[in-house]
């Protein structure tokens, strides 16, 4: 029998979901990028025009190209470049899913302090992901 120390149940549950989420995210990223550069769908910014824009600041780029900010990209998913946002957003959401996965374990084990930290972290990440936190530009 293996007597080596085992990671906690919460840690293993987190790891399992993280592993799955990372793999799914990378596959989505690869597929959507291939669709994009193969020209299957018309992009918002034509690939040969990118060098005109990528030296601009993000604010200026958004203004000139009409790129949607926040979650506005969801309505433009028919465009090849915007489609890549699905994989990027998925990878950036994986951590939130992992935190939510361990909430029931923390409640069952009455780990109140850790549960509070987890819920606060979910709130922070959800606020960042919401698109409501914005800079004023300059």
């Amino acid at each position: 029998m293996d007597n080596r120390p085992q990671a906690s149940e919460a840690q293993l549950a987190y790891a399992k979901l993280l592993d799955l989420g990372m793999k799914v995210g990378i596959v989505i990223l690869l597929i959507t990028f291939i669709i994009y550069i193969a020209g299957v769908m018309e992009p918002n910014v034509p690939v040969d025009k990118l060098p005109d824009y990528w030296e601009m600041k993000a604010d200026e780029y958004v203004e000139v190209t009409g790129k949607a900010t926040g979650w506005g990209w969801v309505k433009d998913l028919g465009k090849g470049d915007v489609l890549n946002s699905v994989g990027i957003a998925f990878l950036a959401l994986v951590t939130i899913f992992c935190y939510l996965r361990v909430v029931p374990i923390m409640i069952r084990d009455k780990e109140i302090a850790l549960l509070i930290l987890i819920l606060l972290e979910v709130a922070v990440l959800a606020a960042a992901a919401s698109g409501f936190i914005k800079t004023g530009g300059h």
Partner: protein, 323 residues
Amino acid sequence: MSSKRTRVLIFIILALVAIFIFSATNASAEGTAVAPDGSESSLPWWGWPLILFVLCFALGIVAVLGGVGGGVLFVPIVGSFFPFNLDFVRGAGLLVALAGALAAGPGLLKKGLADLRLALPVALIASSMAIIGALVGLSLPENVTKTALGGTILGIVVIMLLAKKSEYPDVGKADSVSSALRITGVYHEPSTGQDVDWKVHRTPQGLITFVLIGFMAGMFGLGAGWANVPVLNLMMGAPLKVSVATSKFLLSITDTSAAWIYFNKGAVIPMIVVPSIIGIMIGSIIGVRLLAVAKPKAVRWIVIIMLTFAGARALLQGLGWWK
């Protein structure tokens, strides 16, 4: 790494290059890239992304062999030598560091090297501050950010040269915060066959330090392993392996919050992000394979020299002394 896996990697690399070239022949020839010094470059539009992919492949190898994160190499080097605005480079840098952390996290957590209890309070502070750092970084003019980035990178070089490491720091008594959160653990050390018990101290001081680390990670789009490890290891007293592993895992949380700010702001261009992530991931896999034969000390010096040059260039570009 199996030969089957190697063949798959080679296939992915060749497929991406082929698609790039196919795509290039279909696009009009009008789009030519602009060089970092502002002059019109003779490169076609796909030239820079292709060079970026090759560079990131190399960075992935060097990062593994040099024991550093990909993000800390990516931002100063791409920011200084590629024509992309620093906003997009930092957005891509965060996603590169995030992808690397997501890939490494599960294995480190399962082995008990990365510790969830240790990560939770630290991540909350660092990820909150990373949001503020990202907001500040995106609000500042590029020359100011570039100057600060250059200074920070040179500071990181100094830390890399001077910081000591402690395999098993001596922690007399756990502090009250770590006791309350039961931040303690045990992991199996295969080199000695022993189970190593550990606990931490000076948790409040460590958490305060992560205010600054999180802010800088968000502002500059850097992974923050260069700062996480010394704080977890030397200040809080976690064993070196636990510190390195927990630091890597932490990046998956800290960089998530900052990456969302850049993404929502429109500072993410797939043509920059995706070749970078794929290049660095494939390079990391090759790097792990090369670990057995490489000389880590020599590679570490290469990393230090690369960072010094890129940091100095960013600083001088920011000050307007080098185009």
